[in-house]
C-alpha cells in the first residue's frame, strides 16, 4: 500500500517537474524554433532544446508549430486543448470497439489513426508521415474503398435476393434515408449561420444514410475530403449502433400481428443464376447509371470470382489477406482526418446529428415499404425485414431476426432479411452513383 502511494507521489513529482521546466524553458526561448545547429553546445542548452521537442511543450505551446498563416486563437485551441480532446475521443473509440464491440475492424484502426494524427511535432498525418502516405496511396484516389468492395462482393451470397427479388424494393425504399438527409443538410445550411455545407458536402454527408462503409468513404473522399473523418466515424458508429437505433423504430411502425407474420421458405437457386447475377447487375448499371459502375463493378467482380467456382484462390485472397490489409491501411488513413483542426468544428456535430436522422429515416422507409408490399403481394411479407434494407450487412438482418424472435420465437427471419440487406448495398451504390453524376 505505502509502496504504491510512493509511486504515485513520485510519478506526480516527475510529471510536474517536466511540465514546469518545459514551460519555463519554453518561455525563455520562445523564439528559438529554428533548426538545431551543431555548434558546440553545453548540456544545459541541449536539455533546453530537448524540452522544446517534447509533447508536453508541444501541447502547451501550440503557436511554435503553427505556420504564419494560421497564427490565431482558433488554431491555438485546436493544437493544444483540441488535440487533447481528440486523443480522448480516440481512446473512447477504443473503448467502444473493444468493450462494446462497435465495428472494431474499422473503428480500432480509425481511432488509432486519429490518435497518431493529433500528436504534436511528429506530423504523422502530414504528407511525409506514414498516415499521409497511406492516405495518398489509396484514400485520395478512392482505390481502397474499391478494393474493400471487391472483398465484400467475394464475401456476399446474393442467393436470398435472387430467390425473392421483390425484396429489393425494400432496399430501394431505405435509400430515402440518403436523399432525405441531403435535404436536411441543405435546410440546416440555409436556416443556421454556424453550419455552411456546400451541396457537395451535403451529398457526402447524406451517404451516411446508406449504412455502407466503403460507399461512404468512396463518396466522402470524392466530394468532401475535409469531412471524411467525421463521415467515417459517423457511418461506422451508427452501423455499430444499429441494434440500438432500429428496434424502437421498427416496433413503433408495426403491429404485433405484423411482426408475427411468417414467410415461406426461400426457393432453391440455380448455380447459373448466381453466376449470371453479377454480370446482369453490372450490365444494368452500365445501361442506367454508368457513374455507379466503379462501386457496383467492384462488387460484381468480387461476386463473379466467388460464384464462378474456378478461381477459389483469388476469391480466398479477396476475402482475407487483401481485404484485411486494405482495411488496416484504410482505417489508419481515414483516421488521419480526425486531426483536431479538421474534426473539432461545428460541422462535425451537424454530421453526427444528420447521420442519426439518415439512419432513422432509412429504417422507417424500409419498414413502411414492407407494410405496403405485404398488402400488395399475394405471399406474406413480414414488414420487419424492410428495416434490413438500410444495408449495414449483416448486422441489420440480425436485428430483424432478433426483433422477430422477440415477438414469436419460432419465427426465423434471418435469410428473408438478407435479401433486402444485400439489395440495400446495391441501392446505396446506385444512390452514390447518382450523387457522383450530379455533384462530382
Amino acid at each position: 500500500m505505502t509502496k504504491y502511494r510512493i509511486f504515485l507521489v513520485l510519478s506526480f513529482f516527475i510529471f510536474m517537474a517536466a511540465v514546469t521546466n518545459t514551460a519555463l524553458s519554453a518561455n525563455l526561448e520562445k523564439n528559438a524554433s529554428e533548426k538545431v545547429e551543431y555548434e558546440k553546445k553545453t548540456v544545459k542548452s541541449l536539455i533546453k532544446s530537448f524540452y522544446k521537442s517534447t509533447g508536453v511543450h508541444g501541447f502547451l505551446n501550440p503557436d511554435s508549430q503553427a505556420t504564419s498563416t494560421e497564427l490565431n486563437a482558433e488554431s491555438d485551441f485546436s493544437h493544444s486543448w483540441g488535440r487533447l480532446i481528440m486523443i480522448f475521443i480516440c481512446i473512447l473509440l477504443f473503448y467502444l470497439a473493444i468493450a462494446k464491440n462497435f465495428e472494431p475492424l474499422l473503428l480500432l484502426p480509425i481511432g488509432f489513426g486519429g490518435l497518431l494524427s493529433n500528436i504534436p511535432i511528429a506530423e504523422i498525418a502530414g504528407p511525409d508521415g506514414f498516415l499521409g502516405i497511406l492516405y495518398s496511396m489509396g484514400v485520395q484516389n478512392g482505390l481502397f474503398p474499391i478494393l474493400i468492395f471487391m472483398g465484400v462482393g467475394a464475401l456476399t451470397d446474393f442467393g436470398p435476393l435472387i430467390a425473392n427479388p421483390r425484396t429489393a424494393l425494400l432496399g430501394a425504399a431505405a435509400q430515402v434515408g440518403i436523399f432525405g438527409t441531403l435535404v436536411g443538410a441543405v435546410v440546416l445550411t440555409q436556416t443556421t449561420d454556424l453550419i455552411n455545407f456546400s451541396l457537395q458536402d451535403s451529398a457526402a454527408i447524406s451517404i451516411i444514410g446508406g449504412a455502407d462503409g466503403p460507399t461512404a468513404l468512396f463518396i466522402g473522399s470524392k466530394l468532401a475530403p475535409h469531412l471524411l473523418g467525421a463521415i467515417a466515424v459517423a457511418a461506422y458508429s451508427y452501423m455499430a449502433l444499429v441494434p440500438i437505433i432500429q428496434p424502437p423504430i421498427m416496433k413503433a411502425l408495426t403491429s404485433s400481428d405484423e411482426r408475427k407474420i411468417k414467410m415461406h421458405q426461400l426457393r432453391k437457386v440455380h448455380r447459373l443464376e448466381k453466376i449470371f447475377f453479377p454480370v446482369t447487375l453490372l450490365i444494368l448499371c452500365i445501361l442506367v447509371l454508368p457513374a455507379a459502375t466503379p462501386l457496383v463493378g467492384a462488387l460484381c467482380f468480387g461476386n463473379l470470382l466467388r460464384e464462378s467456382g474456378v478461381v477459389d484462390r483469388l476469391t480466398d485472397t479477396l476475402q482475407n489477406s487483401l481485404i484485411n490489409i486494405v482495411t488496416i491501411f484504410l482505417g489508419l488513413a481515414v483516421g488521419s482526418k480526425l486531426a483536431a483542426e479538421i474534426f473539432l468544428v461545428p460541422e462535425t456535430l451537424a454530421i453526427i446529428v444528420l447521420g442519426l436522422i439518415a439512419f432513422s429515416i432509412g429504417t422507417a422507409s424500409g419498414v413502411l415499404m414492407g407494410k405496403l408490399l405485404n398488402r400488395l403481394s399475394k405471399a406474406d411479407i413480414n414488414p420487419l425485414i424492410g428495416a434490413a434494407g438500410v444495408s449495414a450487412v449483416p448486422m441489420a438482418a440480425r436485428v430483424v431476426s432478433k426483433v422477430g424472435n422477440d415477438e414469436d420465437s419460432s419465427n426465423v427471419l434471418l435469410m428473408h432479411a438478407m435479401g433486402p440487406n444485400v439489395s440495400g448495398v446495391i441501392g446505396s451504390a446506385v444512390a452514390a452513383g447518382i450523387l457522383i453524376s450530379i455533384f462530382a
Binding site: I162, R271, T315, G427, V430
Partner: protein, 79 residues
C-alpha cells in the same frame, strides 16, 4: 436551394426504384429461363457454391508437387 434539393431527392429515389425494379424484373426472367433450360442444377442457398477448383492451372499452388507425388505413388504401387 431547398427546393432544388427536394428535386434531387425525387429524381434520386426515382432512379433508385427504377434501377431496382428493372433488376427485379430481369432477375425473375433470368431465373425463369435458367430453371427451364437447366432443370437439374438448382442448389440450396449456401451449398455447393464453391465446387473444388479441380483444374485451374497456375493455382492450387502445389500442383506440381501433388502431381509428382501422385506419379511416384502410382509407380510404386504398380511395381
Amino acid at each position: 436551394m431547398i427546393g432544388e434539393s427536394i428535386n434531387f431527392m425525387i429524381i434520386g429515389m426515382s432512379v433508385v426504384f427504377l434501377f431496382l425494379i428493372i433488376m427485379v424484373v430481369v432477375l425473375r426472367c433470368q431465373g425463369y429461363v435458367i430453371n427451364r433450360l437447366f432443370e437439374n442444377g438448382a442448389v440450396d442457398t449456401q451449398e455447393d457454391n464453391n465446387p473444388a477448383d479441380t483444374t485451374s492451372d497456375l493455382t492450387d499452388a502445389k500442383k506440381i508437387a501433388i502431381i509428382s507425388e501422385a506419379v511416384k505413388q502410382h509407380i510404386q504401387q504398380n511395381r
